[in-house]
Symmetry: C2
Subunit: 316 residues, 2 copies
Amino acid sequence: MASLKIPELVPSAAEDSQQLRKAFVGLGTDEARIIEILGHRNAAQRKLIRETYQTTYEKDLLKDLDGEISGDFQRVVHLWTMDPAERDACLANEATKHLPDNNCIIMEIACARPSDDLFKVRQTYHACYKKSLEEDISDHSTEDFRKLLVPLVTAFRYEGDEVNMTLASNEAKILHEKISDNAYSDEELIRILSIRSKTQLNATFNQYNDQFGNAINKDLKSIPKDAYLKLLRSAIKCLTKPEKYFEKVLRLAMKGMGTNEESLTRVVATRAEIDMELIKERYYQRNSMPLDRVISDDTSGGYERMLLALIGHGDL
Amino acid sequence: MASLKIPELVPSAAEDSQQLRKAFVGLGTDEARIIEILGHRNAAQRKLIRETYQTTYEKDLLKDLDGEISGDFQRVVHLWTMDPAERDACLANEATKHLPDNNCIIMEIACARPSDDLFKVRQTYHACYKKSLEEDISDHSTEDFRKLLVPLVTAFRYEGDEVNMTLASNEAKILHEKISDNAYSDEELIRILSIRSKTQLNATFNQYNDQFGNAINKDLKSIPKDAYLKLLRSAIKCLTKPEKYFEKVLRLAMKGMGTNEESLTRVVATRAEIDMELIKERYYQRNSMPLDRVISDDTSGGYERMLLALIGHGDL
């Protein structure tokens, strides 16, 4: 359930391009207009606007935006305006330059996207960076992280609803055995997580819970601060309950003093068109505070207004 | 360089369908007509013929062919007529049921297809078998084979011409180190083989030869009959010189008494539209006998005539 709100009557891409151009020219930038347009168009509409802008003004809309606005506002508008596969390829590429810190971004892209979307990211990565995503991950990460992340990004999971209960039961046993032996980066464990469909994995984790009395992620908390185990738990969450995973990222991004704008921007830009309504619901359940209020408290200016537009705050 | 010969004036798909239908009805089957049509149409044309046949006669052309002809002739016509991705998915699925014997078929599909084609096979596999190819491989193979085959089939290699010579030199060293330690199924060795572009791997294998004085495949012959090492050598050949690999498969298929029709059929059906001219050249160089003569000696009837048509023997 997307949070993005699109007007009933959407102006043509030519009109939108013209209005954006108007927002840029002259003294100052009409930030409200940028938000009014880009903050209320879906991926296909934004793509068309970019193309029309390019043909009409012979300029790249993204570059013009970068020249007009700055800081966190620029970052969220830029990421949001990109084509989803291009955006993910760009986020993944940035992440490979800051490994192991940004492991979770690669994991998110690998585990929280439908199979076809993940494949489009790999295709776009070739076109943009002249190599494969898995090469960059492999070249910039270390032992256990590489062992987990490469199979996760090369996955092309079946997306049907079929569940093999015998397999789920057997693989729950294998997972339990490996976890009991602290063999967290064991090949078999990683293979199960990276080849099975999400529906099948969900059944396997339920079996794990039923057979061994604990949720698998509880058993993976033996060393709570271990970075690899944290990534493994996040992957399991992303594969089965992405809204729960993203709620936590948002919660931590705005907890206490200071804000992690990188995480906040990324989650809003990548989920507004997907499941932000579910994430908001989950956020309210978990924090007894609506997400828009917390975002308002933690951010300001164009950045705040763009985030609120994307999470569907207020009327159109 | 494809060996397939297509007439200058190709009849419409409607005419071809009608002629095929005529070849089926009445007493006996007009085998010559089947070969004349299907043996001289490319993948796009065959696809259109199947679609037209289906709409016109409300019957599946493949099923009708299976009812009319039999044995090796049926097998080669059936495989050839299929869409390439569907054919590969079918061959891979059959192979997973006869592992480890048919490991090489999965390896061929993983290593001798362009990246986009391999991905189409994975997509088609989902649609046909309601699970992923890598799941079937994983479920039906054992330790080392699984460790090699799963990364190979999940690869989506970059296909540009860029070569990083420093990387090639470094990875040649890693490969040599692993091979010297008999660590043939080492993760790093498998990762290099499964994530790098074919152009990059070619540079790496050249570096290996230059730095250590032997071709990598020579060093992988320490236990000549070991099935895993054989598969590894074949994968390396398929990745860099597929025509050399397929020449050998054909050579062995028709060596001495008896013929391995399965291999002969598969290589002709999968390569006639790709690089059969190169394979034929290589075959002649290596065996001092033209491929068509050897095929004629080893096969007969409609099977022989279809194989000869596909390898471009004779005039149209």
